[in-house]
């Protein structure tokens, strides 16, 4: 497939750059004052650009996996893995849009659900496979079977299409039955990580996609069909989300957000930042994994790319506050931001929050640097191993930095007159 570079994002980027440029030059006309409304509009621009990048890189991933399926060589497997890693960079930054924007939260499970019981998808080594308690589908092995029966539901899986895989998500009612999305693709490229706390990721042989007698672990053709379908679905799903944030459409989510109550929209922005920062990233994704020494709670467990997932989650939080986003082509999207609004009322708080966001990125940068170190790498699953005090310190520093910034995000909310940070009444209706 070819990646589509549409003219719209470019125009936004240029317009945004120009307007910020104008703000600092005396010769130009006075810029429009920053208002909550302009901040919300720009937030939608950032989201749009970010999802476009996720789509662009997903299309590249789709193309690379197509090549792998057509010609299963080591080089093509490596290229597909690299395309997957590149696709995670923009996607993880979009996660800050999840909390608060139900349109994203309701949709994202099909793309990024985690943790998953990979035995639903393909073969696993049984003695080192822990799955969710009570999950009847944990060993269904869709690739190995043309019919699967999970907790009384029987499904014909003869033809593996994107629609079928979408329907298989959460089959049998377990959230760990993830048939689709980035982590399913990750598993199909890397395979099960059987190294525990030791150095090393999954080691799926490229011959798992070979034809004829070269095929390892059986069902190579079906494995290829699965990979093809699941990457196609990823692209279609992202296309849908890009459209939700695109300007000039009266019926999409962007229109609803920018024409709705401006305080509610600002609340969503802050809620997304705070929820990702504290509950999700510092809590679920780092503290639980660390305190329980649980590599099962590692986010990108097949590829050992967890450090980047965390790093770009943090970047997403900073993006929303500062109204800036560095696109995958290197261009910068910038415009009216929450930071501008807070600065106008309380420059000290704005400076503190900006410093804390920088400190979090530095702490997450340390995590990334240790994981990617060429001479003595320490991946996230090694950092959380029992007795690894150095690793625990690195993770704890990142947790504490995120906890501190969340305190200031709460203050920023109050500064902007947002009292309640709970999102709508999500989860409380009965």
């Amino acid at each position: 497939m070819t990646a589509l570079f549409r003219p719209a994002p470019l125009a936004i980027t240029i317009a945004a750059t120009l307007s910020t440029g104008c703000a600092f030059t005396n010769t130009a006309a006075q810029p429009e004052p920053v208002t909550k409304a302009s901040v919300v509009t720009h937030y939608a621009d950032v989201a749009h650009a970010n999802y476009q990048d996720a789509l662009i890189t997903a299309k590249a991933l789709d193309k690379a996996t197509d090549q792998l399926i057509a010609n299963p060589t080591e080089a093509n497997l490596q290229a597909a893995k690299e395309a997957w890693l590149a696709a995670r960079v923009p996607y993880q930054q979009t996660e800050v849009f999840r909390f608060g924007n139900t349109v994203v939260d309701d949709w994202e499970g099909q793309l990024n659900a985690w943790p998953l019981d990979e035995g639903l998808i393909d073969y696993v080594k049984a003695d080192d496979y822990q799955y969710e308690l009570g999950n009847a589908g944990a060993t269904a092995n869709i690739i190995g079977n043309t019919r699967v029966n999970v907790g009384g539901e029987t499904l014909d899986t003869t033809v593996l299409t994107p629609e079928l895989l979408a329907n298989l998500n959460e089959i049998g009612g377990s959230e760990a039955n993830v048939a689709t999305g980035y982590h399913a693709v990750e598993f199909l490229l890397w395979g099960q990580d059987q190294h525990g706390f030791e150095q090393g990721a999954g080691e799926r042989p490229v011959t798992d996609y070979a034809t004829g007698s070269d095929c390892t672990n059986g069902n190579c053709e079906r494995r290829g069909e699965y990979l093809d379908a699941v990457t196609d679905l990823l692209v279609t799903d992202l296309e849908w989300m890009v459209a939700q944030w695109a300007p000039g459409n009266e019926n999409n989510y962007r229109s609803e957000l920018t024409n709705g109550d401006v305080n509610e929209a600002v609340q969503k922005m802050l809620f997304g930042m705070g929820s990702l920062s504290l509950g999700e990233l510092a809590g679920e994704r780092m503290k639980v994994a660390l305190e329980a020494n649980s590599y099962e709670d590692e986010h990108d467990c097949f590829s050992d790319n967890t450090h980047n997932s965390h790093y770009y989650n943090g970047q997403g939080i900073q993006n929303v506050y500062t109204g800036t986003y560095r696109r995958v082509d290197g261009s910068l999207v910038s415009g009216p931001s929450l930071s501008d609004l807070v600065e106008a009322n309380n420059p000290e708080l704005d400076a503190r929050l900006n410093a804390q966001l920088d400190a979090s990125m530095k702490a997450l940068g340390q995590l990334k640097a240790h994981a990617e170190s060429s001479d003595n790498p320490m991946a996230f699953d090694t950092m959380i191993a029992p007795g690894n005090t150095e690793g625990a310190q690195i993770v704890n520093n990142a947790i504490m930095a995120l906890v501190e910034q969340t305190g200031s995000i709460e203050q920023a909310a109050r500064q902007l007159g947002i009292e309640a940070l709970s999102p709508d009444d999500a989860g409380h209706a009965f």
């Binding site: 969710e132 009612g173 639980v288 329980a292 099962e296 709670d297 969340t406 709460e410 309640a420």
Partner: protein, 347 residues
């Protein structure tokens, strides 16, 4: 999981407290906190007592195992676990040190980490020592590990079933770890009295801790296993204490703990704010929620699979929901409590 933002706040507050508010006469909020401090102290003291008993009985059973000692041991586990449920709502102060709350109860455990860790420890040749438990992470250090050893069906049919030497070593070492933690917590809470009384911000911390506990009770301990959230499927394994069949009992214990250790001062506080009718409604709602017991004292798997039992559970859920609404909407507004982020905002 317990909110973690307060780990940071508490240490800041403790420092602030030691620098100010020396020997001033007690004001109204300080009186409230004095009441809470004493009530919570009694809860922590009970926990220390029950866990000491548990450790002693684990040791007796493993020295000379028989059925009677086993039954006593299981009962002591239940008593100690329920003592923990009664003070589980306190999520600030000494319980934040060394993640004590998580050490007592690592939950939820969707990946069955407790069983995995137990398997690893009991199948290895490494001697099970206090140091090893210290280093083995929160999934090993608390009540769920003991529950696994005592009540897990698959384990009890395997070669590692109690009183197998390695399983017994794990059992006795973990019970001692819990007893020591409980003693520490009780002592630390005692020392915490001055900063707690002198630091205004703990007023809100205490109120928020009860509100968060009710929310977790409603959402994570009832609604989710009942299939009222997410994908709509009932799942007993996502409650706490499913192995021992005490999920519902532990809900009752948490409610009773709030009623005993938190409610009396809370009601006075509301009355002082001119909210006597709301205070009465909250008191009545507590009683209504607790009225569901002993009918609801059954394993979650039974409550979810039997239609009549499920109706009992629904009754409990509705009562707890109403209680949460009274607390978190009406009382929070009346007392000016603004809720921020907490660690359960994730998914």
């Amino acid at each position: 999981m317990q909110p973690i933002i307060r780990a940071f706040c508490a240490s800041t507050l403790a420092v602030a407290a030691s620098l100010s508010f020396a020997d001033a006469p007690m004001d109204g909020p300080q009186n409230t906190r004095a009441g809470w401090h004493a009530a919570i102290q009694s809860g922590y003291d009970l926990l220390a007592e029950e866990t000491t008993q548990l450790a002693e009985h684990a040791s007796s059973y493993c020295t000379a195992p028989d059925e009677q000692l086993r039954a006593q041991l299981e009962q002591h586990w239940r008593d100690a676990f329920m003592a923990w449920q009664q003070v589980r709502f306190v999520d600030f102060g000494p319980v934040e040190n060394n993640n004590l709350a998580w050490q007592f109860q690592f939950w939820p455990d969707p990946k069955n980490l407790v069983a995995r860790k137990a398997g690893y420890l009991t199948n290895s040749d490494q001697p099970i020592t206090a140091d090893l438990i210290e280093q083995s992470g929160v999934a090993v250090q608390g009540f769920p590990m003991l529950e696994y050893l005592l009540f897990d069906e698959a384990l009890s049919n395997s070669k590692n079933a109690l009183p197998a030497p390695h399983s017994c070593a794990l059992l006795t070492t973990v019970t001692r770890h819990i007893a020591e933690n409980s003693k520490q917590l009780s002592d630390d809470w005692h020392s915490f009295k001055t900063p707690y009384l002198n630091t205004e911000a703990y007023q809100v911390s205490t109120l928020k801790s009860a509100m968060a506990a009710l929310e977790i009770l409603e959402e994570k301990r009832l609604a989710k296993p009942m299939g009222l959230r997410g994908n709509g499927k009932r799942n007993p394994y996502i409650t706490d204490a499913w192995r021992s069949g005490t999920s519902a009992l532990s809900v009752e214990a948490t409610l009773r703990g709030l009623q005993q250790h938190f409610l009396p001062e809370f009601l006075k506080l509301l009355e002082q704010k001119g909210e006597a009718p709301l205070a009465q409604r909250i008191q009545r709602q507590f009683e209504a929620a607790l009225d569901n017991f002993p009918g609801a004292d059954r394993p979650m798997a039974t409550l979810l699979s039997d239609d009549n039992a499920f109706r009992t559970l629904q009754g409990l859920y509705v009562d707890v929901s109403q209680l949460t609404t009274l607390f978190n909407d009406q009382a929070a507004v009346a007392l000016g409590v603004v809720r921020g982020f907490n660690s359960s905002d994730g998914d």
